[in-house]
């Protein structure tokens, strides 16, 4: 079933354990051509394990993976030709120049010398690296090396590009460049799948998969995920976790269902409610002096994550509804 109809990435029930610990627990997802798909989740959520399986570095314990309609277990070589992989840790040889690195990569992917030369020129131009082409990688700054890394992954024109935390170590300007580059690639039909723990980076994706404790807990466009949160979000900062829990209880007692969904995460109280702006004055008047600050806003991806998982994104913030 190779052809236009096959999705670029098709994972079914991917599961993997490290000893007793289940790092991935039945993850299924499909990424069509031309889509930018972000795997968003806290560190330890299973992103890196999933990335390693998708990149064929690691076979899953069970489940299947198809790239461009080809089975990754049975047609590994062909699958690998279709994948461009940008690892989180650098993979360039620091003792070689940028061009030498590209040439080495090209040979490993079976490109001819002529293809390598023209493709390298094209990519270095696009990534604004042309003037550093002959410099040893060890002389490049982190941002430039990252760009060279991306050029290396794109050399063989892979229909699927995988990037593990691609904006690590990039300054804001370089992040913007990267976003533009990925948008251009997806416009040309490349499926781009990236992992990230940054909400703003995921926000730019066409679709997001929320990964928590090895499970895909949410899947959809950024707007869809956010709209799943019941209305606006009011966050009230208090003096500490106990105070937050107590206050949440009092809010519930006082307003009942009128307060919407009330919970506490760490030192703050969270309310999800439609028309939150109308409710805020009543809330403030009911508990004078108990708030350190209050913010109100449309739900963010972080809110969606908290809503779906029942805990905060950072550390081990349990939410108590």
């Amino acid at each position: 079933m190779v052809g236009e109809a096959a999705p670029a990435v098709e994972a079914e029930g991917l599961t993997l354990s490290y000893g007793e610990r289940k790092a991935l627990d039945g993850v299924s997802l499909r990424v069509p051509r031309g889509e930018i798909f972000a795997l968003l989740g806290p560190n330890g959520g299973g992103k890196t394990t999933l990335f390693r399986i998708l990149s064929t570095s690691l076979p899953p314990d069970s489940g299947s993976l198809r790239i461009d309609g080809l089975d990754a277990a049975r047609e590994r070589r062909e699958v690998r030709r279709r994948l461009g992989v940008v690892f989180q840790a650098p993979s360039l040889d620091r003792k070689l120049s940028v061009l030498e690195n590209l040439s080495c990569q090209g040979r490993l992917y079976g490109l001819s010398g002529r293809e390598i030369a023209s493709r390298s020129r094209e990519l270095l131009e696009a990534l604004r690296l042309s003037d550093r082409a002959s410099d040893l990688v060890e002389t490049l700054s982190g941002g430039l090396a990252r760009r060279a890394e991306i050029a290396k992954a794109l050399l063989h024109r892979p229909p699927v590009l995988l990037l593990d935390e691609p904006s690590t170590g990039l300054d804001p300007g370089a992040r913007k460049d990267l976003r533009e580059l990925l948008a251009r690639l997806s416009g040309e039909g490349t499926a781009v799948l990236l992992t990230t723990h940054l909400f703003e980076e995921a926000e730019a994706a066409d679709r997001i998969g929320l990964l928590d404790h090895g499970r895909l807990v949410g899947l959809g466009t950024p707007a869809e995920l956010k709209s799943a949160v019941g209305g606006d979000v009011i966050a009230v900062a208090t003096s500490g976790p106990e105070e937050a829990a107590a206050l949440a209880r009092e809010v519930r007692e006082r307003f009942g269902a009128d307060a919407g969904k009330v919970g506490s995460v760490d030192a703050s109280v969270r309310l999800e409610r439609k028309e939150a702006h109308a409710f805020v004055p009543r809330l403030v008047e009911a508990f004078p002096g108990r708030f350190r600050s209050l913010t109100i806003g449309e739900p963010t991806l972080e809110d969606a994550f908290v809503d779906l998982t029942g805990h905060g994104f950072r550390e081990r913030e349990e939410i108590h509804w």
Binding site: S17, Y18, E20, S57, R77, S91, L92, R107, L108
Partner: protein, 262 residues
């Protein structure tokens, strides 16, 4: 084959860009040769003792030691490649495991041969027999030894996480293997158990082949040329197969090892 040659070429380019490695591989054995060879000159009577005394006797062993060091340094680079990240990209490239082995081992073997070859410049100085045929033959044996030792080192290095671990392997295994190869002292004077160990040590045959060509006077008691050559070639083939099997069994190396539930 392109992939293997690409990786081999990279190995050589990297080496030439790190001059300290060149010095590190050639200088210590050379120094050892001169100091030990000169020091033993009076007290140690090498068999035959025609030309050059112990300095000459010790010479083939020194060449082998240079090759051993070169191979060790070349294969330590597997561990570095893994740590520095280069290997992770190679491991997801559409390349068969044996190509990776062949690339690494060929690159390392060329380096070993080059460094061993530098020592051949001492042949005329020592007044050892020298003919074009002998030289060609010697280079052939050195090539086989370089291949075997690099593949041997690679097989160890593939599953090791740190270069410290490799030093342990080197001191406990590779150096004794060299000491008990007839490079340092002849087989026939050794106690029986040691002679047995020397007989099953594949390196013994490489040293013997070199000694029979370079310093035939000192070759008394060493294995004959036919056996020496056959076993040296066999050693190379076996080690290449072992290295390939190690990679196939553990494609991800040490870090990807993970406990599976029974």
């Amino acid at each position: 084959m392109t992939a293997a040659l690409t990786l081999a070429r990279r190995e050589i380019v990297r080496f030439l860009r790190q001059p300290s490695r060149v010095v590190g591989a050639i200088a210590p054995p050379l120094l050892m040769w001169l100091l030990i060879g000169s020091g033993f000159r009076g007290s140690f009577r090498a068999p035959g003792e025609a030309a050059g005394g112990y300095v000459a006797y010790f010479y083939p062993g020194t060449v082998v030691l240079v090759i051993l060091f070169a191979s060790i340094f070349a294969t330590i680079s597997v561990i570095e490649d893994r740590r520095e990240g280069f290997l992770q990209a190679v491991l997801v490239a559409p390349v068969a495991p044996h190509q990776i082995v062949l690339g690494k081992v060929l690159g390392g073997a060329v380096l070993g041969l080059l460094q061993g070859g530098v020592l051949l410049l001492f042949v005329p100085v020592l007044g050892l027999p020298w003919s074009a045929r002998d030289l060609l033959f010697t280079v052939g044996v050195l090539a086989l030894l370089s291949l075997s030792l690099t593949a041997l080192g690679f097989s160890f290095a593939w599953s090791l996480e740190s270069t410290q671990g490799f030093h342990a392997v080197m001191n406990l295994f590779l150096i004794p293997m060299w000491l008990l190869s007839g490079a340092f002292f002849p087989v026939h004077g050794a106690p029986l158990w040691m002679r047995l160990v020397m007989a099953i040590n594949p390196l013994t045959y490489g040293v013997a082949a070199l000694r029979r060509t370079l310093t035939p006077e000192g070759a008394a008691g060493a294995p004959g040329m036919g056996v020496a050559l056959a076993l040296t070639a066999g050693f190379a083939v076996v080690m290449l197969l072992v290295a390939t099997a190690v990679v196939a069994a553990r494609p991800g190396g040490p870090s990807r090892r993970r406990g599976r539930k029974p």
